[in-house]
């Protein structure tokens, strides 16, 4: 075969390669050229029968042809393969604008009362307070008498108590009107020094815009031999600062009266109202948030503690109320409505676990 014939074969094969429209056609070209019985392979086989002087040149020429065809095949093969992939991928196009499910984590919520209770717990745990609990259905003794509210005390009228039927022994169970009976239970069970908080449900026979027959309180109690009013002030200041997450909270301590503490105080915090928003730590308006005082000697006596030796303070504040203040929730009644719109809006992500290290609400 002459050199021009080789050139023409090369041109023919390269054209066939270029013209292959898919991987199958390309394979046919490859087999036709480089396969066992292919035309290039046939030329190689002829080499053996050629005279040595021709063999060298012809061999070089055929090898060059083989390399060129193989390279062209390789290039075309890649070209066709990526075209095929592109076509397949094009077929696989999805409407990625379709909404996807974010999964249960995006749906679930923690109720503000639970969240705020966790926040409060976090703060007081840091100050060495543990969490005490007591039942909702209480005795008259724990709810009133032991707290220095004897049966005829006018303060009982302020409590709007829910009662149950009288028991055969003449006592009358009631729904606790405050978390203070947990003080009594704790002091009867454990010996000072004591530092506890007691969150829980409390009940008053009262219902309007700002009152619900059930709400949440948290009680604080410290009993040892030297804790005084100054410590109470410090604890409350630290608590308010940490809870409201502001550098400083203006606080006003007003003398008041509770039968179970003496001296007794009510505490107001300063706030500003900007539009409908309440800002703690600014402004010059006052809002009452809690009642507190030094535990009354009669209460200590009621739990067999000697008031000459032991003393301490107690405080009680409304969890729902401070939750409303901190997170700007307007209506107390909505707390207990189970309304998904409200719960999803004001509720918290389950992963938003309050810690002091990370910041309570961050």
């Amino acid at each position: 075969m002459s050199a021009p014939e080789l050139d023409s074969l090369r041109a023919e094969l390269l054209a066939a390669i270029a013209g292959a429209c898919d991987l199958g056609a390309l394979e046919d070209v490859r087999v036709g050229a480089l396969g066992k019985k292919g035309r290039v392979s046939a030329l190689m086989q002829r080499l053996g029968s050629m005279p040595p002087e021709e063999r060298r040149d012809f061999g070089q020429a055929v090898n060059a042809l083989k390399t060129a065809v193989a390279e062209a095949l390789e290039v075309k093969q890649q070209e066709l393969a990526s075209a095929a992939t592109a076509e397949r991928l094009a077929d696989e196009t999805a409407d990625v604008t379709l909404p996807v499910r974010e999964g249960p984590l995006a749906e679930g919520r923690i109720h503000p009362v639970s969240q705020v209770t966790d926040e409060i717990t976090e703060i007081f745990a840091d100050m060495g307070f543990s969490i005490a609990e007591g039942p909702d259905i209480e005795t008259d003794f724990n709810n009133f008498t032991a707290l220095n509210i004897p049966p005829e005390h006018p303060a009982r009228q302020d409590h709007d108590t829910f009662y149950f039927a009288e028991k055969p022994d003449g006592t009358r169970p009631l729904l606790r009107t405050h978390t203070s009976p947990v003080q009594i239970r704790t002091m009867l069970k454990e010996k000072p020094p004591l530092r506890i908080i007691a969150p829980g449900r409390v009940y008053r026979c009262d219902s309007d815009q700002t009152h619900t027959p059930m709400f949440h309180q948290i009680e604080g109690l410290v009993i040892d031999e030297d804790t005084h009013l100054g410590h109470l002030k410090w604890v409350l200041q630290e608590f308010c600062r940490a809870f409201f997450e502001v550098p400083e909270v203006k606080m006003r301590f007003r003398a008041s009266h509770f039968p179970f503490t003496e001296p007794s105080m009510e505490v107001d915090i300063g706030y500003a109202k900007v539009g409908d928003e309440i800002r703690i730590g600014e402004g010059d308006r006052w809002l009452e948030i809690l009642g507190c005082g030094m535990v009354h000697p009669n209460v200590l006596k009621a739990v067999q503690l000697d008031p000459k030796k032991y003393q301490g303070f107690a405080f009680g504040l409304g969890i729902d109320r401070i939750a409303m203040l901190k997170y700007g929730m307007p209506d107390l009644r909505a707390f207990f409505s189970g309304d998904l719109r409200w719960l999803k809006h004001y509720g918290f992500s389950p992963l938003a676990v309050p810690t002091l290290a990370a910041g309570l609400s961050r």
Partner: protein
């Protein structure tokens, strides 16, 4: 408790401003509820003089006045017949709001004549109903000066909240004393002068109590005043009563009301001509009745202290007087009562009969026991001054109750309890200003409280007095000693587990709700909770009358309300207390959830990616089991028993148990009848876990058991069993797992099938058994041996046969 500034100043010499007084009252525990200055509303109203008056050209009854307002002369059209030259009255300028006609004045033309403001009547200022003419002020009032002042309305009204321990501050004098002690002025001395009686009191007073009730009314003083004229009380007194919201009635009644608020000393006046015989304070008798001043009839009983005469019950001592013996304008002979009634009995009587009165409010808190006679003298003084008449001598029955006994007071207690360090002289000064007598020289004193402070009975009460007068603001904040080192965990096991379950359930897409602890009785009954000991005696409504036996009814009704609002798919949970009985140990903590509509772990509602399954037992079983797993509960110990309570679908529910006795929880689809009764639509499925019953996770230190990651590949074999339709998959799985505990590491169910190829009444259950070789690769023979054991075990336990 209300009073005006001028009233306070009758008792307190002070230059303090209204704001200073208000702030101080709040600080010392007499919390300001409101300070109202009536002058604010009348700020632009001036005293003006009519300098010219002529007839209106176009109206017979109108005049055109020229009015001197002190600043300018204005033309005003006026219809009042008494408008005339020289009259000084109250002028309301253009721009002023006139409360009585609810109008802000503008410049108008009345029948063509311009009018610039108005001359006001009393009704227009809401001072009275008087509207026959415009107000006529004295000719001495200064033209152009404040009308409010001229009308005596420049007297701010304070409203304060009085805590139950402070009966002394239910009189203005008590408030003044507190302010003086707080350093805001000086308490004026007002020595009462006895009024000499001209004749013996003809009305006998008898205290007729049995021995055990002698304290009901230990002292009763009275006297008669003859020939009084009971007309209106003087303007100043009427004005004060009106300012604090009391309606003036007649002089005699007004005087008792005034002294009640001025001194905290309730009195009663009787029309003596309507009394028959002696006045008797005694216990009531069954069947006795009287009509009280509020117009209502009350039946008394033997626990109540009544005031009677020879014929009948007249009133209730310390609570309310009777209608027929009250004083009217016709009264000419008045009997004045000043007595002391026992606080407890007064409170109890008031509560029993549901009577609220100013007298009860004071007596039940404890009035000044030594002001019985002075109060009577003060009343006599005012009666004779306003109504004339001749007073009798005073009759006193009984004697003043014993004062609170003196007690030891160590002044060091103030520092110990409050952290304040005060000089003893200051402590003494403050307490003395409150009327407390201190005897002794060193720091340990003998303290005697005054009779108007029944609340002071011990040393700690004096600490409170000093602290409140000094102000808690002066107490230095003192850091509580911190525990040494890093704070230790404080939650109990159950508390920590509640926290964990709450967050776990929320991560599963359930939304936490807080629902009422009480339910309607009929709803509670549906859930097995109608015990009478859990029924409220005084519920706020029947909707909230029975303590809940379970959290489910509250959640189901909340779910229903959400569906009614158009939110048809979702999931709610609650973690809280429920009640099996009234004892503390009957209260338990549950974690419960309700899924409704189309709701499962992946989400709720419709979605293009595929139908969300309707809330069914599988979703809530997953919730319950996941919660138990989060608590570290060993799942292999979990037993599932088909014994869920009646509010669940009997075939699609179960109880989760630990052994035969301990119930950990329950789950399932809710019974359609229960849902129908609650008017809630299916689908709804629920779970309830009893957290107190879940055993704490066993922990031995913090180290976890070593990981067993064997190099030998596990071998999996599938088996399809044909079992009876009612055979539980759980039994098949348990039987298969028990076939070779050392080799079988897991058994899963991958297919449940009934239908074509499966005989009627049977089902095909396909399980995958995983064998984990431990020492060497299993031979085929070994694997076949285990497989045979699996088939045998399943056959034995359930009668299942391997499908051919």
């Amino acid at each position: 408790m209300k009073f005006t500034l001028s009233w306070l100043k009758e008792h307190l010499d002070t230059e303090a401003s209204v704001d200073e007084i208000a702030d101080t009252l709040t600080r010392i525990g007499l919390e300001i509820e409101d300070v109202f200055d009536p002058a604010t509303a009348l700020k632009t109203f001036r005293v003006a003089e009519v300098v010219n008056a002529k007839k209106h050209p176009d109206a017979d009854k109108l005049q055109v006045l020229e009015v001197d307002t002190g600043k300018e002369r204005l033309q005003v059209v006026c219809g009042a017949p008494n408008a005339r030259v020289g009259l000084r009255g109250v002028f309301a300028p253009v721009g002023a709001y006139v409360p009585g006609i609810d109008l802000t004045l503008t410049k108008v033309k009345i029948r063509g004549v311009e009018s610039n403001g108005m001359m006001a009547s009393e009704r227009e200022l809401e001072l009275s109903d008087e509207h026959s003419g415009i107000i006529e002020l004295s000719s001495k009032t200064k033209v152009g000066s404040s009308a409010a002042k001229a009308l005596g309305l420049d007297d701010p009204v304070f409203a304060i909240a009085i805590t139950p321990n402070r009966p002394d501050c239910l009189g203005v004098r008590g408030v003044a004393r507190d302010l003086a002690a707080a350093g805001l002025g000086k308490l004026k001395k007002l020595p009462g002068k006895p009024v000499k009686g001209g004749f013996d009191n003809p009305v006998a007073i008898k205290l007729e109590f049995p021995k055990e009730a002698k304290d009901a009314c230990p002292i009763f003083a009275g006297r008669l005043v003859r020939d009084v004229t009971n007309a209106k009380s003087p303007d100043w007194l009427q004005r004060r009563l009106k300012a604090i919201g009391l309606r003036p009635i007649n002089a005699l009644v007004d005087i008792t009301n005034y002294i009640s608020f001025d001194r905290g000393r309730p009195l009663h006046v009787y029309d003596a001509d309507k009394l028959s015989g002696a006045i008797r304070a005694r216990l009531g008798k069954k069947g006795e009745k009287f009509v009280a001043l509020d117009g209502k009839a009350y039946a008394v009983d033997e626990t109540m202290c009544v005031i009677a005469d020879d014929a009948r019950v007249l009133g209730l001592g310390g609570v309310i007087g009777g209608e027929d013996t009250g004083c009217t304008e016709e009264t000419t002979n008045v009997f004045i009562e000043s007595a002391y009634f026992d606080p407890k009995r007064t409170a109890q009587t008031g509560r029993t009969l549901n009577i609220q009165s100013d007298a009860r409010f004071r007596f039940e808190r404890g009035v000044d026991s030594e002001f019985v006679e002075p109060g009577l003298e003060l009343a006599t003084h005012m009666v004779t001054e306003f109504c004339g008449g001749a007073p009798s001598k005073i009759t006193i029955a009984g004697k003043t109750p014993k004062p609170t006994s003196a007690f030891k007071f160590d002044m060091a207690l103030i520092g110990r309890l409050s952290g304040l360090s005060l000089p003893y002289s200051e402590i003494r000064r403050r307490l003395t200003a409150l009327g407390i007598t201190l005897e002794g020289k060193a720091n340990v004193l003998k303290a005697s409280p005054p009779p108007w402070r029944p609340d002071i009975t011990g040393a700690v009460d004096l600490v409170e007095e000093v602290v409140r007068l000094i102000g808690v603001d002066h107490v230095p904040a003192t850091p509580l000693a911190r525990m040494a080192g890093v704070a230790a965990p404080v939650l109990t096991g159950l508390q920590a587990r509640q926290k964990r379950v709450r967050r776990l359930l929320a991560t599963r897409g359930l939304v936490e709700a807080v629902t009422w602890s009480f339910l309607p009785l009929d709803v509670a009954k549906l859930f097995g909770g109608d015990q009478p000991e859990l029924t409220l005696a005084n519920p706020i409504s029947t909707e909230l009358s029975q303590m809940r036996p379970s959290l489910l009814p509250g959640l189901i009704t909340a779910a229903k309300r959400n569906r009614d609002r158009g939110f048809s798919d979702g999931a709610l949970f609650e973690l809280g207390q429920a009640y099996r009985g009234a004892e503390p140990t009957d209260q338990y903590v549950a974690a419960s959830g309700v899924r409704f509509g189309n709701s499962a772990l992946d989400g709720a509602g419709r979605h293009w990616s595929g139908e969300t399954p309707a809330a069914d037992w599988t979703a809530v079983k997953a919730d319950a089991v996941a919660a138990l797993a989060a608590l570290g509960f060993d799942q292999s110990k979990l037993m599932i028993a088909r014994e869920a309570p009646a509010w669940f679908h009997p075939g699609r529910s179960a109880v989760l148990k630990l052994g035969p006795k301990v119930t950990l929880g329950v789950f399932g689809e809710l019974h359609p009848d229960i849902l129908a009764t609650l008017e809630a639509d299916a689908p709804m499925a629920a779970f309830e876990l009893f957290l107190d019953n879940v055993p704490p996770a066993k922990s031995k230190g913090t180290a976890k058991s070593a990981l067993e990651a064997l190099d030998l590949q596990p071998v999996r074999r599938d088996f399809a069993f044909l079992v009876d339709g009612d055979v539980d998959a759980g039994n098949v799985v348990r039987a298969a797992a028990s076939a070779d505990r050392s080799l079988i590491s897991a058994v899963g169910v991958f297919d449940v099938f009934t239908g074509k190829g499966v005989p009627e009444g049977k089902k095909s259950l396909a399980i995958e058994v995983t064998l984990q070789p431990r020492n060497k690769t299993l031979t085929d023979a070994e694997i076949d041996a285990v497989a045979e054991k699996v088939v045998a075990a399943v056959a034995k336990a359930t009668g299942g046969k391997l499908r051919g």
